[in-house]
Symmetry: C2
Subunit: 177 residues, 2 copies
Amino acid sequence: MGIEIERKFLVNGTAWQARVTRQIRMAQAYLNDLQMVESGALRSSVRVRIEDDRAFLNIKSAQRGAARQEFEYEIPCSDARDLLKLCVGGVVEKTRHWVEHDGFRWEIDEFGGDNAGLIVAEIELPSEDTAFDLPEWAGVEVTQHLRYYNLALAEYPFRQWTEQERSGPQIGAVDAC
Amino acid sequence: MGIEIERKFLVNGTAWQARVTRQIRMAQAYLNDLQMVESGALRSSVRVRIEDDRAFLNIKSAQRGAARQEFEYEIPCSDARDLLKLCVGGVVEKTRHWVEHDGFRWEIDEFGGDNAGLIVAEIELPSEDTAFDLPEWAGVEVTQHLRYYNLALAEYPFRQWTEQERSGPQIGAVDAC
């Protein structure tokens, strides 16, 4: 188990592409859904993810925002394929790109399928107040905006977002979803 | 992943105790709850179980009755203790006893805590129509009675059952919970 301190930003332009050190294709879905987690009826999300030829089961505590408990276990790919059929909501497809910047590793998720067009960069930090340099390609922060979470994208994909939602949040705004 | 064909019976008397070949103490709880699984909002139950000094994560498909998909993964005990805090419903405590009878291994669950007084015997079969000899200590079959499932016992423990519920189902009856 680890505590995950994670911040999410929208991505501007394509300058990051020249800095990618590794990339991997992912398909993931959830055994539970956002409403249950948001309403407090459940205290965790349970994710099944296939990463190229490996697969993982991941459990995250449900509190919103940056600090969440996280548990991850590798499982057989054949199990993962069966488990995806037990998931609720859609399968989220994406290519994850890794970019090093100023001593930190950024994960840039370029979504496909029903979320094509959405690109989100994440940085994991050792503590909530750790200082880090924001790359020039990192745009508006969306850490507090639930609709950018994969669990939300499984049920309300980018393709269904309104024009206003697709244009990104206003700086400083926190919306309900 | 395996398909689990499981039949459950109430236990009469104590004759089984002389036949126990092994026993283990268990504490388990669920990351999701029965209503969600029963309503079809979820397609699986996710269980955390500590067995003496080992721990397991278990996922079962939600269809009711004998044949269910099952996935099980061993996890660190320290993770299991943290995960129990993310569970909904209560922790189900029991001692599991193994008894061999006529070539089959029976699991007899003697519940503790809020389910003290309840003893249920289970047999796993290779197919739904496999013939087996019913031991003399096996009473009424409860395979179809949801309230005897551990997921139900976590939320509606034996201690809260009505006198009628505690007396066991009538032979042939199927109740809602």
